[in-house]
Symmetry: C2
Subunit: 150 residues, 2 copies
């Protein structure tokens, strides 16, 4: 048990300083969601060059990126807990909580469109993938417009 | 094309301010790897309470966590590019680059053990899952001991 405790603490200390037992602090929830959104930007952004034809479509690269993006698309939402509205450097608008159903719909839209992007990547459907990039990006933009401070 | 450009910029601006065209800056690589490691801590840490028997094993929860952890386990390494040794608040030791083969082996070990954890979760093997948590945690600790500043 002692070894497991040490390992749990080491794991939790990776970056968020959560332990197996501790309830995460508000700033840890903000860090969780910002980390997930940062990684979505990291893997989604470069696909824009492919969508615009500035970089050739490569099926393996598209499959790899979307295999990360689909799980990442599911992660940020658990970080938007009540009590984190004004924590740290968050750009979260109060509408995330006052219009929770709309926010959930916007989040669901992104996950749905991202899953379609992954399917098109796996199918090697270059034209479909390029078009679907725009559909996913549209869901990013719609949510940012409504729920993220400029 | 204009719409795609806007979407690509919006996507990139999510958090890292990367655009479809721009080469990421050194600090963005640091943020990429720290984001991935933070999320690994977020989803792995709480499993420690299950491994220690302080929280009941729940197959659905274990499957969900490991479905995130397996792709996350593959992400941090691309962020450890040359030229990011002393950027921002990194705790990266110089050995990451001077002993690159050892670092890769440590990273590979974690990915291998994490994949096994996911298989045990899917199989609903509670005893195996609890034991394997320790094996994964051991790979975290080994890498931190050798390659992360205290």
């Amino acid at each position: 048990m002692k070894t497991l405790t040490k390992i749990a603490i080491a794991a939790g200390a990776v970056a968020l300083a959560t332990t197996a037992m501790a309830q995460p602090k508000p700033e840890n929830f903000v860090k969780q969601r910002q980390s997930a959104l940062a990684l979505i930007g990291w893997y989604f952004g470069p696909l824009g060059a492919v969508a615009k034809g500035e970089k050739p479509f490569n099926k393996d690269d598209a499959v790899r990126a979307t295999s990360y993006l689909v799980p990442l698309s599911k992660m940020p939402w658990e970080g938007f807990v009540a009590g984190t509205e004004n924590v740290g450097n968050t750009k979260a608008k109060p509408e995330i909580w006052s219009k929770a159903a709309d926010f959930k719909k916007a989040a669901d839209n992104m996950q749905t469109e991202m899953a379609k992007l992954a399917q098109l990547a796996s199918a090697g459907d270059e034209a479909g993938f390029k078009k679907q990039f725009g559909a996913v990006g549209g869901t990013c933009k719609a949510c940012h417009d409504d729920f993220r401070k400029q």
